[in-house]
């Protein structure tokens, strides 16, 4: 019997396990399906990680190494090459690996830290033939950065998420010609800094409100058709451009990888596609916590580490003292706020400050994030340069929460002051 099992040895799992150890939990097991710890950071060789956590811009492997070293210095047990098949609500974890075979582990608490995966061509239904040369951006990143294979010579990138932007630069540096980065939305979901250093630095055009409407090629991609779209995202006839290319990368979004969460009977929030969680990142199933990209897709690993530390500490608190009373406020959203994490805030959380992560649905120069109960406004935060691609954090002091007897909901909304 373990005190804590952490599923996933990427940045979230490492930070959660280490934080729990620091809080005195001793029997901790990390289960990782890859051959090494570090998760997707291992293939993210570009720099920019850790500015908030360490005050310097590290590459992905360096950032992972910092946390791996912290974990190595503890007595945390790690099993790599281990695939978790099932988790149940009683915190039994069923897994397989080449040395132990099929095994069942049990724990007082479980942290879900499985990360996310990429949306594929099937998810966005691009018409055309099915030749080789269509890759998700992260797959191409793995081929290039881990395995050392070049994926193509003339490339079009569909989607302007961060991985697509990073790959535009990576491919260009390695000698490929990136013809365009095509984005169906009128605004990129990537970080502004990545648009500047990955596209503008290399003169790669960003075609906003455009999409790929046909993939051509028999054995290998020979070209793609790109069309402008209208405000309903429907292709506009007559705007077809043909790109002669051998490769199409898809950077069309990430989905939290929640198969295990569902098997454990935990409900998912359709907005985040991750579990509903309380302010301490505990799911609706007692003793099972979630953090990192399996809970909601973050734009910076620094936020993943921050949230995971928090979940690890909360798991430690749960192991030591048991469950806190579940009476809580439900957090709703409106007016341009697309989601919040957490979705539930306990009335007696035992915390002074509750960190609320949220996203907005459009670009706004200046706006206020307003937290209100049905009776009155309780907090207002002035924010600048809001964008869908940039997660917003607000700290809600728990003394501001409505006193007992009032309503059980809190609403988070955006009030635009300068569009």
């Amino acid at each position: 019997m373990y005190d804590l099992i952490v599923i996933g040895g990427g940045p979230a799992g490492l930070a959660a396990a280490h934080a729990a150890w620091e809080k005195g939990v001793r029997k901790i097991l990390i289960l990782e399906r890859d051959r090494e710890l570090g998760g997707i950071l291992n293939q993210c060789i570009h720099n920019g990680f850790g500015v908030k956590t360490f005050g310097e811009a590290l590459s992905g492997p360096e950032y992972a190494a910092r946390f791996e070293e912290l974990v190595e210095k503890t007595g945390i047990e790690v099993k790599t090459d281990t695939m978790v098949l099932d988790v149940d609500p009683d915190r039994n974890v069923y897994a397989v690996n080449p040395t132990d075979g099929y095994v069942t582990y049990s724990a007082k608490a479980v942290v879900l830290a499985m990360g996310c995966r990429e949306r594929t061509r099937g998810a966005i239904s691009i018409p055309g033939s099915r030749p080789a040369g269509v890759f998700s951006a992260g797959t191409a990143q793995r081929y290039m950065n881990i395995d050392g294979f070049m994926v193509g010579k003339r490339v079009v990138i569909l989607g302007s998420g961060d991985i697509g932007l990073i790959m535009a630069r990576r491919l260009t540096l390695e000698g490929a010609k990136v013809l365009a980065c095509v984005e169906i939305m009128p605004v990129s979901s990537g970080l502004r800094a990545n648009i500047a250093r990955c596209l503008e630095d290399f003169g790669i055009p960003l075609l906003l409100s455009h999409t790929v409407t046909e993939i051509r090629g028999d054995r290998r991609v020979t070209g793609v058709t790109v069309q402008e779209v209208d405000d309903k995202m429907a292709p506009i006839p007559g705007t077809e451009q043909y790109f002669d290319c051998d490769t199409l990368l898809l950077s069309v979004g990430l989905l939290p990888e929640n198969e295990l969460t569902k098997k454990a009977g935990i409900d998912l929030d359709p907005r985040t596609r991750g579990a509903y969680v309380f302010e301490n990142r505990e799911t609706e199933t007692e003793g099972i916590f979630a953090c990192g990209n399996v809970l909601h897709v973050h734009d910076l690993v620094d936020y993943v580490s921050e949230e995971a530390k928090f979940a690890g500490e909360a798991a430690a608190e749960y192991i030591a003292n048991g469950e806190r009373p579940r009476e809580s406020f439900s957090v709703t959203t409106s007016g341009g706020v697309t989601y919040t994490v957490p979705q539930k805030i306990r009335k007696d959380s035992g915390m002074k400050l509750i960190n609320v992560y949220l996203r907005v649905n459009r670009k706004v120069k200046k706006g206020d994030i307003v937290i209100a109960s049905p009776e009155k406004e309780i907090a207002r935060y002035h924010k600048q340069n809001l964008a869908p691609g940039e997660m917003i954090t607000v700290g809600l002091p728990s003394v501001l929460l409505p006193a007992d007897g009032g309503s059980d909901t809190l609403n988070v909304s955006l009030e635009v002051t300068e569009a």
């Binding site: 060789i45 570009h46 720099n47 811009a57 590459s59 492997p61 190494a65 050392g148 390695e174 800094a193």
Partner: protein, 115 residues
């Protein structure tokens, strides 16, 4: 006036610099001011890429320049790194090339490869 996105941290502040007076606006920290001045005189970037490694477990070793190098040196640097052959073991921070294409900046490993 020239407008640019600050690359010093993920915030991505929108900077403007007056090319005559070198006055910078839109920055939220002193790093942004220095960035904008460098950007119109000698723009520099950290280069991150991979080098071939002889190892039992890895094919490629992730590497980066220890400090930013001029944008104009990027192509030459990439060509030079293509000819590099690293042998395991390597630690994070080990110097792979002392002075990368005359920039005075070393190329360092960003991953530990034990064997």
């Amino acid at each position: 006036m020239r407008n640019m996105t600050c690359l010093e941290c993920p915030m991505g502040c929108q900077l403007s610099i007056d090319e005559q007076t070198l006055e910078v606006t839109g920055n939220n920290c002193p790093k942004g001011e220095a960035f904008a001045r460098a950007e119109i005189t000698n723009p520099v970037r950290i280069l991150t890429t991979t080098a071939v490694i002889e190892s039992e477990t890895e094919s490629m070793l992730p590497v980066r320049t220890k400090d930013p190098i001029p944008k104009g040196s990027m192509d030459a640097a990439m060509k030079a790194i293509k000819n590099v052959r690293v042998k395991a073991p390597v630690e994070v921070g080990d110097i792979i090339v002392e002075d990368l294409v005359g920039t005075g900046v070393p190329l360092i490993a960003t991953k530990r490869v034990l064997k």
